[in-house]
């Protein structure tokens, strides 16, 4: 799984040094290149006005000459390169739904879009997210319109690949479709590709019609699912390996703000069901691009504290990766033992006990030593000093750091892992008390 940051909201096009440096210090080694830094929806809705504004600010107006994208992005790309930050994924400019119902200049948009795809492919991006194109019509008419556009973009990616530039990988850049919402009189409701059956049909038909068999994939946008109240576990589970990328951010469930995960709290609880998100991605062994998109938070955060924010976001991305790949920690070892004989141990046994059966569990409460718990014998922690080779010790107790210190003090520093039961597949309906 590769962790990326969508840096659009706070990286200045002409002076990106500080922000990209902050990203690097925070731990990011990859970023998503959001092409909206080059041109935005206004360029296609109010073209004359947008052109004038660009000229006044001394910026290139890309719709007038889309082939100059490289020129517009030169400083930014050079800064990423100097800082060792890769750009494996790009996101094409979105036109979405204009609030006042005004129709964008679609021909102009497609000219820019084609150049964006060509540019991203030449740059060496392995995937580009291209949102579907909205229009009125029957399902089949909408698909047919999109089919033509998407196939043209795949053709461009393939042309670049066949020319074999130095950045090209082993296959053409993949075009990723993305789930959408649509505004309905101020209320965001399910939009195009919000239905998994429709997504599967589109992807299968597009891949069938494309020159290259794996030309199209999918980017699961968690925030879009959330504003439509969708069950993210079921969404991910239905799409399985078709998901190449996940756009991860929080919002309040009603407005599509891009916020740091776990920060949008409504009624004392997180407005995104992170349990379903983690469970869903774990259930499909997601191993693609995990794109952290925190634009709304970043745009409103004190600039002085940005390094700390980015460090937190990187740490959160690592946490998601760890949660999604939790079973990988168990796979590493020939044997497993647990530390803790309470609800977390019970949940381990319910979810992983059969696949990764522990030798025993241990607990600091000497009164319980020798007791059988969930099919395990509770031992003294001293037993951990004489374990078979390649045995992982999984702490099943929320006092992780205290127990880790205890183990360190006992001279056990290797093979200590955290287990966590907050986002497991199944739960007991009761909690054991008084343990």
């Amino acid at each position: 799984m590769e962790i990326l940051l969508n840096s659009t909201a706070y990286v200045e096009l002409r002076r990106p040094g500080q922000a990209v440096g902050d990203m690097k210090k925070a731990g990011f080694r990859s970023a998503m290149l959001d092409m909206s830094v080059c041109s935005g929806i206004r360029d296609f809705l109010y073209t004359d006005k947008a052109r004038k504004e660009s000229q006044e600010n001394g910026l290139l107006f890309i719709p007038d000459d889309p082939s100059r994208i490289a020129e517009k992005l030169a400083i930014l790309l050079d800064t990423f390169k100097k800082n060792g930050i890769d750009l494996p994924v790009a996101h094409a400019t979105r036109i979405g739904f204009p609030e006042d119902g005004r129709e964008p200049d679609r021909d102009l948009y497609f000219r820019v879009l084609e150049e964006e795809v060509r540019f991203a492919a030449k740059l060496g991006c392995r995937a580009i997210v291209v949102s579907p194109f909205h229009l009125q019509g029957t399902d089949e008419e909408v698909f047919e319109y999109n089919r033509q556009k998407y196939l043209r973009l795949a053709e461009i990616a393939n042309e670049v690949f066949e020319k074999g530039t130095e950045n090209c990988g082993s296959h053409p850049m993949k075009i990723l479709l993305e789930n959408q919402y649509k505004p309905f009189e101020g209320h965001l409701v399910r939009g195009m590709l919000s239905d998994t059956a429709e997504i599967i049909e589109w992807l299968d038909r597009l891949n069938h019609d494309a020159k290259h068999t794996d030309a199209f994939g999918f980017c699961l946008n968690i925030g879009h699912c959330n504003v439509c109240g969708q069950d993210i576990y079921e969404f991910a589970y239905a799409l399985k390996c078709r998901i190449d990328a996940v756009m991860l951010y929080d919002n309040d469930g009603h407005n599509d703000d891009t916020m740091v995960p776990f920060t949008s709290i409504v009624g004392g609880r997180s407005a995104t069901n992170w349990h379903e998100v983690i469970k869903g991605l774990r259930s499909i062994s997601f191993d693609g691009y995990l794109i952290m998109d925190i634009g709304s938070t970043a745009a409103n955060f004190p600039i002085i504290l940005m390094p700390e924010l980015l460090s937190l976001v990187y740490r959160l991305a690592e946490y998601f990766k760890w949660q999604i790949q939790m079973a990988d920690a168990m796979k590493k070892y020939d044997h497993v033992v647990l530390f803790g004989a309470g609800n977390m141990c019970r949940n381990y046994m319910k979810n992983y006990g059969e696949q990764y059966p522990p030798l025993f569990t241990c607990d600091n409460n000497s009164a319980r030593w020798g007791e059988e718990f969930c099919g395990l014998t509770i031992e003294s922690p001293e037993r951990l000093k004489s374990l078979p080779e390649n045995t992982g010790i999984f702490i099943c107790n929320v006092y992780y750091r205290e127990i880790e210190k205890q183990l360190r003090d006992m001279g056990i520093t290797e093979s200590v892992e955290y287990f966590n039961d907050e986002y497991l597949q199944t739960f007991y309906m009761d909690r054991l008390k008084g343990l």
Binding site: F184, C228, E234, F427
Partner: protein
Amino acid sequence: MLEIGVQTHNVIMDENPDEGFKLLHDTGFTCCDFSLNFYLKNTDLYKFELNRFFDRSTEELKDFFRPHKEAAERNGIRFHQMHMPYPNFVPGAPKELNDYLVREMAPKSMEICDYLGCKYIVVHGLKVKQYYGSEEAEWDATEKFLDTVFPIAKERGIVICVENIYTGVGRHILEGPCCDARKAAERIDRINEKYGAEVLGFCFDTGHANLVGIDFEKFINIIGKRLKVLHIHDNDGISDLHQIPFTFTKTRENRPSTDWDGFIRALKNVGFKGVMNFETAPVLSSFPEELRPEALRMIASIGRYFADKICASDDAQKLQIF
């Protein structure tokens, strides 16, 4: 012309059902959605509290509801649909309570439904996904429950209707059981085939669908003829308010933020011939008592508006536009 119905909660009182049914008749309704669920409230069940209403024998329950039945007949109101108490499984509750819901509440609800001459009974799916892991496993539990009442449904000619409901984290409402139209359609067909009778149908709840951004038109078109009953009500897209349609707007243009046009188009498209039934009991507590009849009249008028649009021929609609 489609008939118009409304939920009985807050209108029909046990002490004097005549008064309530007369009010429904006088305000323009011919059908009712009997709120049996209020005899065993969900709020109590979630607190593991059981009021023992269903301890009564079937005969005693019939005696209890005889005045309601007679009053409805006297006032020209037909029991078109009713709501079974819910939840029918309470996670973490004592076994005795959950057993009671299956052994007493559910079959007796079916008996009451039959006694009142009611064709449809709406049932909530179990909300146990958190514990069982997936929607599929959750549905299996619902189906296991429904299997206990399907034989009664078949015998009495009752159609049990599952409804799109929601779940949530904090105050953010998310889709819950029966929010996937394709799965619902497949399950309804499979079960009806298994029982060799139409024992299962669908209840589309507009308010619940609106809360989780469901595309009304697309959903209803997939459900098609399996759609048997409606719970029509409106909300702000945030909370389950059960208010009068057309009352919520979210923009300066003040157009309704619920897709009523899509709702009408879809019902017309699937050839819906059922009752325009409103689940709007909270309206009666939010309006002052003096204005309640007017509020009910307004609801009935909206029902007639929907019915007119749904039943109008395409040509007639075009004429109206031009």
